[in-house]
Symmetry: C2
Subunit: 235 residues, 2 copies
């Protein structure tokens, strides 16, 4: 019985290492840019966009510079073009199929959520291990036996999977998905998992986030108003 926290703290792009935090900020930039685009704004300066995202302008420019030069030196960044660029970097230019394992309460909620499509993802392939669910159509998707993952994903390959099943036997699920070519996994399951080589697993432990918030609620910085600035949070 083991587990990890670290697993991979750097990504690669064009041979150069990129901080994972940079990738996470790209999502934020893209979302804010979408809002600006919806407002008809065509160009934006780094200091403007940076203020929206509450990041220093230098941080924003440095983040982008890891992938190339996208700014016009005295017009700033073309909103439309930057959105396209970021989408390409994140791999969401075209809508991307995603697999879901576990069609319980959480799984069904995710299936009926429309927000994913807007961000370039589509929960297309659905698995479970409950005979009562296998073969049935749930939220428009036919539910497959998890044991057939390799077969099903051969016809309809996916790179990303979401885990919303019970902890029991989850290791087998992960190994199966890895064998079927899945590259990345988002897990809502609070269980310890051996990560197969070449796979990246992202944990979404809601209880852990609550614990963090609980700590912060009880250990507030002693001096509430000293150089304090109203912060902002995105998304």
């Amino acid at each position: 019985m083991k587990s990890i926290q670290k697993q991979l703290d750097r990504a690669q792009f064009g041979g150069k290492p990129v901080a994972l935090q940079t990738i996470e900020r790209l999502s934020t930039y893209r979302r804010v840019l979408e809002d600006l685009h919806a407002k008809g704004i065509q160009y934006v300066y780094s200091h403007q966009l940076a203020e929206y995202v509450d990041v220093t302008p230098a941080q924003l420019r440095r983040d982008l510079s890891a992938f190339g030069s996208f700014g016009n030196i005295s017009r700033g960044y073309n909103v439309q073009r930057l959105i396209t660029t970021l989408s390409e970097l994140l791999g969401t230019s075209n809508i991307q199929p995603v697999a879901l394992v576990g069609v319980g309460n959480l799984g069904r909620t995710l299936l009926s959520y429309r927000g994913f499509e807007e961000r370039g993802f589509s929960l297309r392939v659905v698995f479970d291990n409950d005979p009562a669910k296998i073969g049935r159509v749930i939220a428009g998707r036919r539910c497959f036996d998890i044991r057939e993952a390799e077969t099903v994903l051969r016809d309809q390959p996916v790179e990303i999977a979401i885990l919303a099943c019970r902890p029991q036997g989850i290791q087998g699920v992960v190994d199966r998905l890895a064998a079927a070519g899945v590259k990345s996994i988002l897990s809502f399951v609070p269980a310890i998992i051996d990560v197969p080589p070449g796979i990246h697993i992202e944990m979404e432990d809601i209880s852990a986030k609550l614990e963090k918030l609980s700590f912060l609620a009880k250990n507030r910085p002693a001096k509430p108003a000293y150089g304090y600035e109203k912060g902002r949070t995105t998304m």
Copy 2:
């Protein structure tokens, strides 16, 4: 229109600054310790626990040392005692009431989830702004009008709230909660929020995590097998 990513990257404990990542690891330690406890293990060495969590033993000891000295020098850490200590630090020794805003698909899923109780949280107070839901009892909780937040939370104070509502008017919701004494907020809503002073907001943007995973799936490190060790992931 603004937003943030940073907002607060250090916590405080006893006047000393503590890295936020340390807090997050405490959750992991506690979870693994619970498993060990369930197995009847009474003492554990830092190098053992560290291996389960895939952290260096020094990291583990350093994390704990930010809060005191809990280890017996040649017996290691008392599992039971360390669980208690971590629970106290995280503020989950006694079950803690949490408010939920928005009883839609996601909200109802969270309400019916039993995992929170096991980790020391209880979704007790429920709000919405839909007249069809206000006053009704949903999953055993009576649903209140969000506009009455301040009144309701005066009788039943909570420090933590979860947002599972629509983005529209979310700023008003946050301000109301802050005025009602809420200290920490976990938001599933992909919207830009002005954070009132003294409040901490944690974003849970599932689409952003998928984007990160998409990037990693497409930009895999060039050399798959070079000094590679099978990693582990917890929870």
